[in-house]
């Protein structure tokens, strides 16, 4: 073969990539940049499953009666990768609504860039403090919570219950730092130790030794996903669970994690804006539908994904799927005109939730598996601490 032909061929193939894929532009495209791999992968999967459930309940590919196309990609918990995917979704697919962010480090790299380009982003999980305060934006909504919220509630709970010496543990990334700041919002006792781990860390031998050394009344930890599984297991292996009771936000004791660690988690208290046994009509049908669809109890991540989809659906219905006037769409989102599975839900001026926060306990369910049971309401109509810094 002629070598010139070959090289021309190589170039032609490369150029041809540009025209290879053509797409129809009819349904509203929703880009979901989420975390499906790494130890935090199940968070993204459950958010996605919850989101899809809402679509399926409308018959498949619609939300609020408007045809939608959901594009899901894995950010690998990597901020740079998240940015690239978001860029591709905007430039290559023309996506105007995005969601999916699980981890705050990815959120901080993706969301400010995306909202600047005029895309509306509705976070189903990550709620970094900066985006609730000084860097809030009219195109950014959070349908779950601000990062500090659930931790603040646990701080209040431990304060109310009279634990005087607490050891704190969280990964060193935006949400981890938010978590410990949040905990201290209402907690006024002694903090006998404060350790930041690496996100994705698997061996906690050194940290566990430090806890033993500090001899606290209680350990408050925030280790989402696989980190938490490993920590609780190793903590239990060291036979410390009985000596130093573990407390955390719901992320430390979601159903998936609790079943992975088993008995070590039994009896642990955790705070959440939602629980599977929360008694309202929307939640009852959601829990039943989720169990039927996926064969397992929903976690709070699934509920967040589901509520996010329902929220988007309510706004799409209000504007009849027409995104040419984004302000109208945003206005419809702000109204939050849907039945949340958590009961009362509305947006604050910084477009973050105002909602009740409960404390739950890990108990054995009817099926013999460990699950979370609602104990009490800790804070009613909780507002995050950063709304005052937001210019909106």
């Amino acid at each position: 073969m002629n070598r010139l032909t070959r090289s021309l061929g190589t170039m032609a193939v490369t150029l041809g990539l540009g025209v290879a894929t053509a797409t129809a532009a009819e349904p509203v495209k929703i880009g979901m940049v989420t975390t499906l791999s790494t130890g935090g992968g199940y968070l993204g999967e459950e958010v996605r499953d919850g989101f899809r459930l809402a679509m399926q309940q409308e018959g498949g590919d619609t939300l609020g009666g408007v045809p939608v196309e959901l594009i899901v990609e894995d950010d690998g918990r990597n901020p740079g990768q998240g940015r690239q995917i978001a860029q591709r979704m905007m430039q290559s697919e023309g996506v105007q609504i995005m969601t999916g962010s699980i981890f705050s480090n990815v959120a901080m790299a993706v969301i400010p860039q995306v909202v600047r380009e005029g895309v509306v982003f509705i976070s189903p999980n990550a709620g970094p403090s900066q985006l609730a305060g000084a860097q809030c934006h009219e195109n950014y909504f959070n349908a779950a919570w601000q990062n500090n919220d659930l931790h603040s509630a646990m701080g209040k709970y431990l304060e109310d219950e009279g634990y005087d010496n607490v050891y704190l543990l969280a990964p060193n990334y935006p949400a981890g730092r938010d978590a410990l700041t949040g905990f201290k919002r209402y907690y006024e006792g002694n903090i006998v130790g404060e350790t930041y781990t690496q996100l994705g860390q698997s061996d906690f031998a050194a940290e566990i030794s430090s806890v033993r050394e500090a001899d606290p009344d209680a350990v408050f930890f925030f280790l989402p996903g696989g980190d938490g599984v490993n920590f609780v297991r190793q903590f239990d292996d060291a036979e410390l669970t009985d000596r130093f009771p573990l407390f955390g936000a719901a992320f430390s004791f979601d159903n998936t994690l609790v079943q992975a660690v088993g008995d070590a988690a039994r009896g642990a208290f955790n705070t959440s804006q939602w629980s599977a046994d929360l008694d309202n009509e929307a939640n009852r049908q959601f829990v039943a539908a989720y169990e039927e669809e996926y064969g397992s109890k929903p976690t709070l991540y699934a509920h967040q994904g589901y509520d996010t989809a329902r929220l988007i659906g309510s706004a799409l219905r209000a504007v009849d799927g027409d995104l040419s006037d984004m302000e109208a769409f945003r206005e419809a989102l702000r109204a939050a005109d849907f039945d949340s599975t958590r009961g009362d839900f509305r947006f604050n001026t910084n477009q973050h939730p105002i909602q009740d926060i409960y404390v739950r306990e890990v108990v054995e369910g009817d099926d013999g598996k460990l699950t979370n049971r609602l104990v009490a309401k800790v804070i009613e109509d909780h507002e995050d601490a950063f709304v005052g810094e937001c210019h909106l």
């Binding site: 130890g39 698997s202 030794s209 430090s210 696989g226 297991r233 190793q234 292996d237």
Partner: protein, 304 residues
Amino acid sequence: MLFFIEQLLNGFQLGVTLLLMASGLTLIFGIMHLINLAHGSLFMIGAFVGATVMAYTGSFLLALAGGVAASGLVGMALEYTVLRRLYYREHLDQVLATFGMILFFNELVQIVWGRRPLGVDTPSWLSFTVEILPGVAYPAHRLAVIAVGLLVIVGLFFLIMRTRVGMWIRAGASIREMIGALGVNINLLYTLVFGLGACLAGLAGVMASPLMSVQAGMGENILILTFVVIVIGGIGSLRGAVVGAVLVGVADTLGRVYFPALFRLWADPATADAAGASLASMTIYLVMAVVLAVRPQGLFRAHA
């Protein structure tokens, strides 16, 4: 003081895992002159297969056998199909080909086992603590890792230094033709040595699996640390690997504990912990740079 001893043990335990990796890698380099980046993949394969066997049978011993066998077989297959063609090629080629293997295996395990890490339970008969010193209860599983690792290394020394096979291996490393002339099948010998190294990597993988999440890419972190170990020790030297592994394991663990404490004297906890952890990781490389600046061939000569 008790706290320090406990952390020292934690460091030893990491060191032993590194040692299992390093002894295989250094053996392969010392004898076949092959730089094998895919050694971390063999570690990962051992961990994944071990975790799977564990999940199905509930037996940690079967998991060990399965993981070690899987790594050994994959290792020998790689040697037979690809790596033996690279023994006389430049290191650049070896690096790139084995880099390709890393990419391949990381994707493969994601396809087979999914993108989420597997959790491995500590075997129930090791789920207790031993009071090694008054007031210091240490998990038995971690002690077992240290013990098994040390046993294996002693066995390896015995094999290399005291047996006929070991003599062939040592001879093959220096004068390839001569060992051929003695009627030993050198190709087979190399495949077996490679398989041995792979088995050690697999063993490290299974034993470490209850302590880390079993996931794609888990081999690379440990691989880079292993490189540091064998470069500090002297590439090709088993004795060097022992010294290097203990040094790196202990330095890394103590650094992770004490650097943040040091930084907390003048920085807030989040900053101090991140800076301390990273400095601890940096220290290992600084030690390596210093060792190499003084002794460019590492602390020990090969085949010592």
